[in-house]
Each structure stands twice: as C-alpha cells, then as structure tokens.
C-alpha cells in the first residue's frame, strides 16, 4: 500500500522534475527570448522612444547599441520590438479598428547579421528579399551587384516621410559590416537616414567599443552618433536578485506545492553563505549573465527524482566544473613518461627563460633525471620517448614555432610549452599515484645533485 503510494508520488515528482528541467533549460538557453531585462531601463526607454518616433512620425534615425558580449543587446532590442508591436495594437484598437492585425506589415525589419551577410552583395540581396521587393520584378532583378544597388536605392529614394512605410534595419555584428569594401552599404543606409527619403532607422549591434573609429569619415559624419551603451552595471546584490529570478519557477507552474517548495529553496540558497561565495567568485570573474546561466545549467542538471531540490553542494560542484582549467585536466590523463617530459620542458623553460627548445634537449634532460635520480622509472628507448613526445604535440600541450617541414628533422623542431609552471605543479598535486621522485624532480631541477 505504502509502496504503491510511494510509486505514485515518485511518478508525480518525476513529472514535476522534468517540467522544472524543461522550463529552466529553456530559460538558460534562449536567454534573450524569455529573459527579463536587468538594469537597462534607461536604455530601454531611449530605444523604445526612438523606434516609436520612427513608426509614428516617420522620422529617420540611426543608433548603435554597444556592449560587451552577453550584456543583453539583442535581448533589449527584441524586448523593445515586442513591446512596440503590442503598443501599436493597443493604440490601433483604440483608434481605428480596421488597422487591426496589420502591425506586422507596418514595420519591416530586416535582420542582418554580419556573420551571414559577409559582403555587401549578399546583404543587398537579403534586404531586397526581406523587403519583399523581389516579387515586384521577378527573380531577374539580381542581375548584377550594381543593378541591385541602383534598384534598392531607387526604391528607397521614392518614398517620402509621410507616405512610406518606415523601415527598420537591424545590423547585427555591426563591426563586420565596417569591413565591407568602401563601407558602401553603411554609407547608403546612413545617407538615406539623413535625407528626405523613405523613413529608415538603422540600429547596429556591436560589442566593440572602438566602433566609431572604424567608420570612414563620410560614413561617420552621416551617422547620428546615438550610442546606447549596455555595461552590465549592476552590483552583487542585484546579481543575487537576478540569480533568484532566473532560478525560481513561474506562478503558472502546474504543481503549485512543488513550485512553492522550489522557490522557497531558491530563497534559502540565495541567503546561504556557500552559495553566495560561489556566486561572488563568478561575479568577480565576469558579470556576463551567460556564464551565470551556464553555471545554473550545470547545477540544475543534478536535480533528479531522488534529489528534487537544488543544494549548495550542487552549485559548488557546478562552480568547480565551470572554473576548472582545461589544460590541467588534460595533464591528469597523461602517462608518467609524458609527465616526466613535461617536467623536463618546465625545467628547460626555467633554465633558458622561456626560449624555445627541441626534442633532443628534452630527451637529454630526461636522460639526466633517469641516470642520476630515478629509481622507479624505467629507462625507455628513445623511439618510445619520441612517441610520447608526439602525443603531447597532438594534445597541443607543446606547440611548434613554425610548421614542420619535410626537410627538418623532427628531433630538432623548435617548440614551446603551452603550460605555465604553476599549472604543471597544480596538476601534479592532483595526479594520482605520482612517483615521489618525479614529484621531487618537478619541485626542483637541482634536486638530483
């Protein structure tokens, strides 16, 4: 009886857990879609006002949204566009009924991404396609680049402020458009936005702070110098709040009692010292919300039926994984011989002050160690050592200075070690079953004397 009950509750909670996983993973992966905006109310108002004026008054504008990666540039823009559409609908429902539902047509917004539109030619085609102009003239409009440009300019020139549908150009990865030849596209877009043609608003998204210096002087003069900076300017208290908001379940979660429990737990977690330490560490490293999402994602993955609520330990474990050193992890999987070679390289680096070395030098160093000191190490043949060395090369723990050519002998190829001595020492501490003499040798290159 009680067993069956337990099973039922198990099934129920399993349902809940999968729901929780689904909701939270969606939130962490599509950060811009559902996520709320944090600490950018002013920028939001500025952008919303800008776009509202474009749609309502037909005023041409240009603006850049600048901020480091993950600071919510696209999220801000998406939010504004969403709200703008809703606002339109509300207003139109109030004023004129027959325009209802046409708001999609009202505002065209070609989204151009610098990673997809690699040159002006492709970008122009994309603009024409997104403005749905190509069906005006059949598919032969794309005769040549020149014709295409003339066509589009002609189309935009014909419009006037009061009669044409305003167009919003969103240039994602704006800095990549700057590298197009002559910046023709940017010049023309900005030129249209500064002349009495079809109302156009150009919004560029970029993470480069020096973007204005990249613009050609004529292009720069035509740009209105409106820059909206997103800086992640929140402090740690707000960071904790964001953490709580991101982790708590929404009110419309089906199982209310579970949601209640989960949210209470989140509240507790946010007050927990250990959790705060974890978050503080992350906050000190980066204010980027994406890395917070990554951390939470790792933690949430630990939630199971047996372990339905997040604990501080989960977060600590996630933090450990999150901040683990990638190269040191590789070192953990090496054989003792390979470790020895790395130690030999470390000593060479110390002796020659970071000058490049070759295999022969490493082998000599290793031989010295074997002959003088090592008791536990077997004296390997040179080809075996060479093989181990090549393995290190493949793992990119060492890097050749120049490309290996057919003529140069592999033993004398100049190389550099891609590990810092600190990293090596830290990795050795954690290396399981490391022979003591190897550890001693690692600590001091003179220990064999």
């Amino acid at each position: 009886m009680s067993k069956r009950k337990l099973k039922e509750s198990n099934a129920e909670s399993a349902e809940c857990i999968s729901q929780v996983q689904k909701i939270l993973r969606e939130r962490f992966c599509h950060h811009c879609a559902a996520g709320k905006l944090f600490g950018m109310e002013q920028q939001y108002r500025h952008l919303l006002e800008l776009l509202r004026r474009t749609t309502v008054h037909g005023e041409s504008n240009s603006a850049l949204i600048i901020g480091p990666r993950g600071s919510g540039k696209s999220a801000l823009l998406n939010h504004v566009l969403k709200d703008l559409r809703e606002m339109k609908q509300v207003r139109e429902n109030l004023l004129e009924v027959h325009l209802n539902g046409n708001c999609q047509l009202f505002l065209k917004n070609p989204f151009l991404s610098g990673l997809l539109q690699t040159n002006d030619r492709v970008a122009l085609k994309e603009i024409t396609r997104q403005l749905q102009l190509e069906n005006v003239v059949g598919d032969k409009v794309f005769g040549s680049f020149a014709e295409n440009l003339a066509f589009l300019l002609e189309a935009l020139r014909k419009g006037t402020r009061s009669s044409s549908c305003p167009i919003l150009f969103v240039l994602d990865e704006f800095d990549l458009f700057v590298h197009h030849k002559n910046q023709t596209l940017l010049y023309n877009l900005f030129d249209i936005s500064q002349s009495a043609q079809t109302p156009v608003t150009v919004i560029g998204l970029t993470c480069r702070q020096d973007i204005l210096e990249l613009l050609e002087k004529r292009v720069k003069s035509r740009f209105s110098h409106r820059q909206i900076y997103l800086m992640n300017s929140f402090d740690f208290k707000q960071y904790i709040k964001i953490f709580k908001k991101q982790l708590s379940l929404p009110a419309e979660f089906p199982d209310e009692t579970f949601a209640q429990k989960w949210n209470n737990n989140v509240q507790h977690l946010s007050e927990d010292k250990a959790v705060q330490d974890v978050l503080q560490k992350l906050f000190h490293h980066t204010k980027d919300l994406r890395s917070l999402h990554l951390l939470l994602m790792l933690a949430v993955s630990a939630v199971t039926v047996q372990h339905p609520l997040l604990s501080a330990a989960d977060l600590q474990e996630a933090s450990r994984q999150h901040s683990a050193d990638a190269k040191a992890n590789i070192v953990h999987g090496l054989s003792v011989l390979e470790i020895c070679l790395i130690i030999a390289m470390k000593h060479l680096n110390e002796v020659y002050d970071g000058e490049p070395f070759n295999f022969q030098m490493v082998y000599n160093e290793f031989q010295k160690f074997i002959q003088r000191k090592a008791h536990s190490m077997y004296n390997f043949e040179k080809p075996v050592v060479m093989k181990a060395f090549e393995h290190l090369l493949q793992l990119e723990l060492v890097q050749p200075l120049e490309r290996p050519s057919a003529r140069a002998q592999r033993e004398f190829l100049l190389l550099k070690l891609l590990l810092d001595s600190r990293q090596i020492m830290d990795a050795l501490q954690l290396y399981p079953n490391c022979p003591t003499d190897v550890k001693q040798w690692a600590a001091s290159s003179l220990s064999w004397l």
């Binding site: 108002r45 309502v56 008054h57 037909g58 005023e59 480091p68 990666r69 139109e92 004129e96 046409n102 047509l105 009202f106 403005l131 102009l133 005006v136 003239v137 059949g138 032969k140 409009v141 005769g143 040549s144 680049f145 020149a146 440009l149 003339a150 419009g159 009061s162 044409s164 549908c165 167009i167 002559n182 023709t184 030129d191 500064q194 002349s195 009495a196 109302p199 993470c207 702070q209 002087k217 004529r218 003069s221 035509r222 110098h225 409106r226 820059q227 900076y229 560490k281 906050f283 000190h284 490293h285 980066t286 204010k287 901040s323 050193d325 190269k327 890097q399 891609l418 810092d420 600190r422």
Partner: protein, 849 residues
C-alpha cells in the same frame, strides 16, 4: 561583300557656288549630293528641303529644314537649318500642355533659342517630307512613304505650343511645293551643266536610269521597316568601322532592320546592288536599260519577289555579254536575297499566299540544287500540313521562308515550327515586341515561352505605403526636432552665400558660353558641399525655366553609391539617354556623345560626389570624366566633390590633375557663429532652445569638427532628453543641462565607463597589464607574463587566484570589446596583448573607485 566599304558616303556640292564671300572665304551652294560609294546611289538635297539629321540617339534622327549651305574657310561643309521638334524631344512635363494624343509623325516647328542651327553637312542623312497642317486638320492617311512624311501643326518655343503663324505656314507650304518641282526636275543626279557635249546624246538614257533609281529608292523606303532605317544603317556602319558593337546596334537587331543581316547583306542594299549592276549594264547598252525600266515599273506595283527572280533568271540567260558580273551577283545574293524578300514579304504582304511563295521558290535559280529542291518539297509538304492546321496565315508563310533560309544554310531538314521558334527567339525581346506590330498575335504567344525571362527594365520598385498617416508634430519640441533633422531641406543655406555665388557664377558663365569646364570642390564632411551644389543646380534650373539661361541637363553620380568606378559611365549614360548598357559600352558611347558635335544637345551639368572613390589604378574613369569637358563640342560642366583639398596632387596622375584644371573651391568647416546661425535659422519661429544652449552646441562642435550634421544631431538629442526629463505637462525649452548631457552622451569616451563596469578580475587583469608594461618597459606582453602579475595581485587583495582558462576567458572578453588588442588565440599563453587605449586612461579609470 565588304560591309565597311559599302558604308562610305561622299558629300559633294551640287552645282557651282551661288555666292562667295572673299573675306570670310565662304561660298554658298544651292544643294548637296550625298553619294554612297559602294551602292553607287546618289541623292541630291537642295535648299528648302526637309531633312533628317543625325541625332544623339540613332533611331531618333532630328527633323530639320535646310536653309543654307556653305563651305567655310577651312573647307568644311556646313549647313544652316531650321529645326523641328519631335515629341520625344519635348520635356515630359510639357507634353501634357498639348492635351491630345500626338502621332509619332507629328513634329513641331522649333523656336527654342539656343539650339545650334549651324551644323556640319555630313550629319545630314536624307531628305523627307514635312507637311504643314492647320490645327483642326486630321493627319492625312498616307500609306506610301509613311516613314518619311511628317506633319507640323504647332510651333514650340520651349515654354508653350503656338499655332503656326500664317507666314511660316505659307513658307513651309512653298518649300513643299518647290520641293515637289525640284524633285521632279532634279532626278538626274548629274546636273546638266556638268555634262559634256559628248555625253549629251546619252542624256535621255541617263535620265531613264535615274528614274529607275528613284523608283527603286521608293521601294526601298517602302520596305524599310522603320522610318530611320537609313540612319540606323549609318549608325551600324559607324559601329562596324570602329570595330565595336555598340548596344544601340544590338538593340536594333530586329527582323527587318539592316543590322540584323549585317553579316550577310542589307536587304535594301542587295536590291540597290542588283540595280547598280543593272545600271552599269544600262549605261552601256540601251536595250538592257529599256528592259530594266520595264522591270522597275513592274516592281512598283507588285511584290518584288517574283519579278526579281524572273529578272535574274532572264538576265543570266539574256545578258551573256556580262556573264562575270552577273554570276557574281548570283553568287552573292542567293541567301540574302531570299531572306530579304521573305522578310519584306512578311512585312508588306501579310496576307500573302503560301502558294505564291512555293511557286516563287521553284522559280529561283537556287532551286536547281538538289538539296534545295528537297527542302522545297519538304517545305511544301509542311506548308500544306500547316494549312490543314489552319496556320496558313501570313506568319506561317514567314515561317516557311525563314525555315527555307535556315535549311539552305546548313541543309538540315527540320520542321518549320521549331526553326521558327529558334530564329525568333534569337531576336531580342525588343525586336519581338516590335515585330508584334506586323505579325499576328499567334506567333507572339508562341515566342515568349522558350525565351529567357526578361529583366523588366523599367520596373518601378516601391516601398509599401504606410497604413496610417504619419503623425504631425504635436508639441514645440517635436516641431523643433523635425526641423532640426538633417533631411529637412531649409529654404536657403545660410553661411554659404559666397561659395554658392562662386559656383553659380562658374556654371552660369559656362552655360551661357555653351562650353564645358570642371570645378573641384573640397571640404570635410558635413560642411554643406553637396547641399550647396544642389542649391545651385536648383537655382539654375529655376533660371532656365524662366528663360534666363539656356536649358541644361543635370546628372548626378555618387562614388559611394557605385559598386565599381566604371559603373559611373553606366549611370551617366542612363541619365542622359535612358540606355542600359555595360560599362565598357557606356564609356564608348559617352566618348562619342561628348566628342561629336551634337547640334541640338543641351549642356550637361554633371555632379560627381565622392570623387576619390572613382580612383582606379589606371585612373581612366577620372581621366575620361575630366577629358570630356576639354573637348570642343562636349558642353559638359563637371562639379567634382571630395573631402581632401589636395586630392588632385595626392592621388591623381599628372595628366588627370592637369585636366581637372585649377578651378577649385574649398569649404571651410563652419565656425561657431555660422553653426549658431544655421540652428537659429532652422528654428525660426519655434521657441524650443535657450540662446545659450545653442551657443554651447555650436562652440562645442566648431571646436571638434565643424560638422553641421553633428550639430543638428546633438540638438535633436537634446530635445529628446528635455522631453524625458520634463515634469508633467509643463512646456519646457532645451536648456544648457540638456545640451551638456547630449554632448557628453555623444562625445564621451566609452572606454572609461567600460572599464569601470568591468568585473573585478577584468580590472585586476588590466592592472596586471600595466604592472607588466612598467616592468618590461615595452607596451606589449604575453598572457603568461600578465598571468604571473595577476596572481600576485590576487594574493595581495586576498582573492582566490583564477586558473589559466579563466584568465584566457577574461583576455578574450576584453579583446572582443577592443579594450585590448590580442593575437589569435591559438597561441594560448604565448598570445601577445596590447592596450587599445593609453595607460593613463586605464589608470584614471581604475583609480577613481
């Protein structure tokens, strides 16, 4: 058959000089003879005759009346003409003044001043008819010589249309009458006074031959598909001479035009040639001439095909005296002639019977060839089949004929339908459209199916209209913002009066002189160069409309709006003539346009914006642009705009810079007073700004760049800030604080705030960089070195030291923001790092906290 030789035309005076002026060394003549060397036709044009004159566009020759002919001191043959305007030459916006449909044959008595009436005689193409009519009169329907007869009802003086004055009317009428007399009497192309007494006895013979000639010519003209086939012919010849295939020639690749059979022979020319041969015969042998005369009489009435082929077979048998000559003709003519006939046939006798065609086929000498016989049999079969299928209209006759010709070419028996299609498709869309006038709709339906989809040349793209009317500004601030937008065109441009006057005077003087010239305008962005030039052009256009200046064409190109410097040619040509061709063709056409004297051509004002982008390695685009105005007849005024003052010295070759000349003007950046004036002139009547606020903006911008655009943008932003910050419903004007905020927003360096908002470890990393720089004394360090400093700093601050992976992440984040300049990340800890801003800035940003 060499087409090039055919094309040579020789102009010679008719008769002796009427009067000569010793002083000017000019002598006047009463007529001119145009002789085509190869076809040996000669036409005589006399004073008072109506003529076609070569125009800019090959298929639109100008219509004129010949008023005077003289030879000037340099022995150039000149002509003075009275122009007539075609409808196409009248500006689009004036055409509606007529309030009625204008037939393409109606021309207008031209009273526009400023057109050059003195032209080179070599540009005369041929004589035509121009009949004066009263206003109410319907155009008489004349089937004969349709292409060569024009009507005039009104005169055009560049502003409005007027009824012909009775004086002019009678003059024109007289000219026609006279012409009628002249044409009757002057058919002999050898004037009687030149004839030697010995030849006199033969005169009657000669007369008759010339009559033949004229008869033939009439046929010729009747057959020519469009009114200006001769002009086109010339054009194509010229093209052939220059060894270039101009697009105009290509455009005219229509079925009946001469160019299409350029490779073979022109239809009318074949006829002419044949006749020439006959003429030669005639000149030598009176009996042959008689026969010939008879023949032409026949030709006049009936379709030319049958008699001609008859004639040929006859001539081969009868005129044995000149076997060589005739065999020659036969050898040359078979393909072309038949083709020529078939096409004419199609055109003239649309309802022609197939049977007659088949019949005629069997008559042609060519049909003696067995393969040809086979084909003709095959064709007959096909035709009968077609007949059954009720396709026996004119078009199928055309099909069969063209098929026949194709078959003869390659001796492959094919079904007519297929062949037709392919041959039709090979023609350009334009020609097929044109031929639609002549052929029944059936073929038209068939043709487009297999043709390549046409590029709609004149498709007019348009951005969809907005559904809801744009809101008009409601408040004072909104009104101010609208006026401050760069796109808002002010009534006048303040602070650029001097520059305006200079440019205006330059262009005006050139316009009045009818010469060409260049002007180079430089200045930093946002100093009103383009705006001033546009203003000048607007004023000039106004003046031209008010008749104070000769009319001109305005063309503008922008280097930034071209994908390639050579596209400049394409755009200019498209503006001038509406043709769309490739860049190389456009260059050739433009060079021709600007180097040949175009009598009625208006002056062109060409504005070249962003000149520096027209730079190519060989600089041929710039060279050409600046070379054209230096040519005598170009009538081209170029206003070149660029940013750098010393552009000619810096990037141009000497020969280009020299052609650009020394007429230069530079726009100085606006001073703060000028900027202030600009803003206040825009804000006239709107009280939105404090006086001091405007001054602050002007001073700030003037100190930085003097860019008027920047100034306006700041003001606009200031109104927004003002709107945000204002308290409920109280009308607010823009004050100093708002302007300061706007200026800070636009000009403040983003780096400092970016560093201040960076995370703790990012800041420590920057400190570590500074420490490493100071240690090494070099402004470059590897990540490894910085890492050691970073760890040391962390220990001092009592922080947990980050791993190398975390350091790398920090480094790449700062690199993405371009606070740092970093190498490719494959080097890992050996990656070198530099600061993208000065160390002082970093210190300042880090210390403040």
């Amino acid at each position: 058959m060499n087409t090039r030789q055919q094309s040579k035309l020789v102009y010679s005076w008719y008769g002796k000089p009427l009067a000569s002026d010793r002083k000017l060394r000019t002598s006047q003549y009463k007529g001119i003879i145009i002789a085509s060397q190869s076809s040996k036709t000669e036409t005589c044009i006399q004073l008072g005759d109506f003529i076609l004159v070569e125009g800019v566009n090959a298929d639109q020759p100008y219509v004129a009346q010949l008023m005077d002919l003289y030879e000037d001191g340099a022995q150039h043959k000149r002509a003075v003409v009275q122009w007539f305007c075609r409808l196409e030459e009248i500006p689009q916006n004036k055409r509606k003044l007529l309030k009625r449909e204008i037939s393409s044959q109606e021309v207008f008595f031209d009273q526009v001043l400023g057109y050059d009436t003195d032209i080179a005689a070599e540009t005369i193409i041929k004589s035509i008819m121009v009949l004066p009519l009263h206003l109410g009169e319907e155009l008489p329907i004349i089937t004969l010589n349709k292409e060569q007869t024009f009507y005039v009802k009104l005169s055009w003086d560049g502003k409005c249309f007027k009824v012909l004055s009775p004086d002019t009317f009678s003059k024109l009428k007289d000219a026609n009458k006279k012409r009628g007399v002249i044409t009757n009497s002057s058919k002999a192309f050898i004037p009687s006074d030149i004839l030697t007494p010995v030849k006199k006895e033969k005169e009657s013979v000669v007369q008759s031959t010339t009559e033949t000639k004229n008869g033939d010519m009439e046929i010729e003209s009747k057959h020519s598909s469009s009114k200006s086939s001769l002009a086109k012919e010339r054009h194509s010849q010229r093209v052939a001479n220059n060894d270039i295939k101009t697009p105009t020639a290509r455009k005219k690749l229509e079925l009946n035009s001469p160019t299409r059979c350029k490779g073979r022979l022109l239809g009318s020319e074949v006829l002419g040639l044949l006749d020439d041969d006959c003429d030669d015969v005639a000149a030598l042998e009176p009996s042959a001439t008689k026969r010939k005369v008879k023949f032409t009489n026949e030709t006049l009435g009936s379709p030319p095909k049958i008699p001609c082929s008859n004639d040929k077979s006859k001539s081969t048998s009868e005129t044995a005296e000149h076997p060589q000559k005739f065999s020659d003709t036969i050898r040359l003519s078979p393909y072309t002639k038949i083709k020529d006939f078939s096409e004419k046939d199609k055109k003239l006798h649309e309802k022609d019977d197939i049977l007659s065609l088949v019949g005629c086929q069997s008559l042609t000498p060519r049909s003696r060839r067995t393969c040809a016989q086979k084909t003709s049999a095959l064709i007959a079969e096909q035709i009968s089949m077609l007949d059954l299928e009720d396709l026996s209209d004119s078009d199928s006759s055309y099909c069969s004929s063209s098929e026949e010709e194709d078959d003869d070419d390659d001796d492959v028996p094919c079904t007519p339908e297929k062949k037709t299609k392919s041959s039709r498709i090979s023609s350009t869309p334009k020609s097929s459209r044109k031929s639609a006038d002549h052929t029944p709709a059936k073929t038209l339906k068939k043709t487009p199916v297999r043709g390549t989809p046409r590029t709609p040349r004149n498709a007019t793209p348009e951005i969809p209209r907005r559904i809801q009317a744009a809101q008009e500004p409601a408040s004072v601030l909104e009104e101010a913002r609208l006026r401050l937008h760069v796109s808002a065109v002010p009534d006048s441009l303040p602070c650029r009066e001097e520059e305006f006057q200079d440019i205006y005077n330059f262009v005006e003087s050139k316009l009045i002189d009818g010469t060409g010239g260049c002007m180079y305008i430089s200045g930093v962005p946002g100093t009103g160069k383009t705006a001033t030039v546009h203003e000048v052009v607007r004023c000039l256009q106004q003046a031209a409309e008010n008749d104070e200046l000769p009319p001109f064409q305005f063309v503008e190109i922008n280097g930034m709006k071209l994908t390639d410097p050579h596209q400049a040619y394409v755009q200019i040509l498209e503006f001038l003539t509406g043709q769309k061709v490739t860049a190389t063709h456009a260059a050739v056409l433009l060079a021709k346009l600007f180097s040949t004297p175009g009598p009625k051509r208006k002056t062109t004002v060409l504005v070249v914006d962003e000149l520096d982008l027209l730079w190519t390695r060989k600089q041929n685009v710039m060279y050409n642009l600046f070379d054209w105005p230096t040519q005598k007849h170009s009538k081209l005024i170029i206003l070149a705009i660029a940013n750098t003052m010393d552009l000619p010295e810096r990037i141009m070759m000497n020969r280009v810079a020299s052609r650009l000349g020394l007429t230069r003007m530079s726009f100085q950046p606006y001073t703060y007073k000028q900027l202030q004036q600009i803003i206040s002139s825009r804000l006239k009547g709107v009280k939105a700004f404090e006086e001091d606020a405007v001054q602050l903006v002007s001073r700030k911008v003037a100190a930085l760049s003097g860019d008027a655009r920047r100034c306006l943008d700041i003001c606009r932003r200031a109104t927004e800030i003002c709107e945000f910050s204002r308290q409920k419903k109280t009308p607010e004007i823009v004050r100093m604080a708002h302007v300061t905020e706007a200026i800070d927003e636009m000009f403040s360096s983003p780096y400092v705030s970016a560093i201040r908002n960076a995370s703790l470890h990012e800041q420590i990393f920057l400190k570590a960089i500074l420490a490493e720089f100071r240690r090494a004394g070099v402004e470059e360090a590897t990540v490894q070195q910085i890492y050691h400093h970073h760890i040391a700093l962390c220990r001092m601050e009592g922080l947990q030291s980050p791993t190398v992976s975390e350091i790398m992440a920090i480094c790449s984040r700062l690199g993405a923001c371009r606070l740092l300049l970093v190498e490719a990340s494959s080097k890992y800890i050996h990656m070198r790092v530099r600061l993208n801003l000065s160390q002082d800035d970093v210190m300042y940003a880090l210390r403040e906290e």
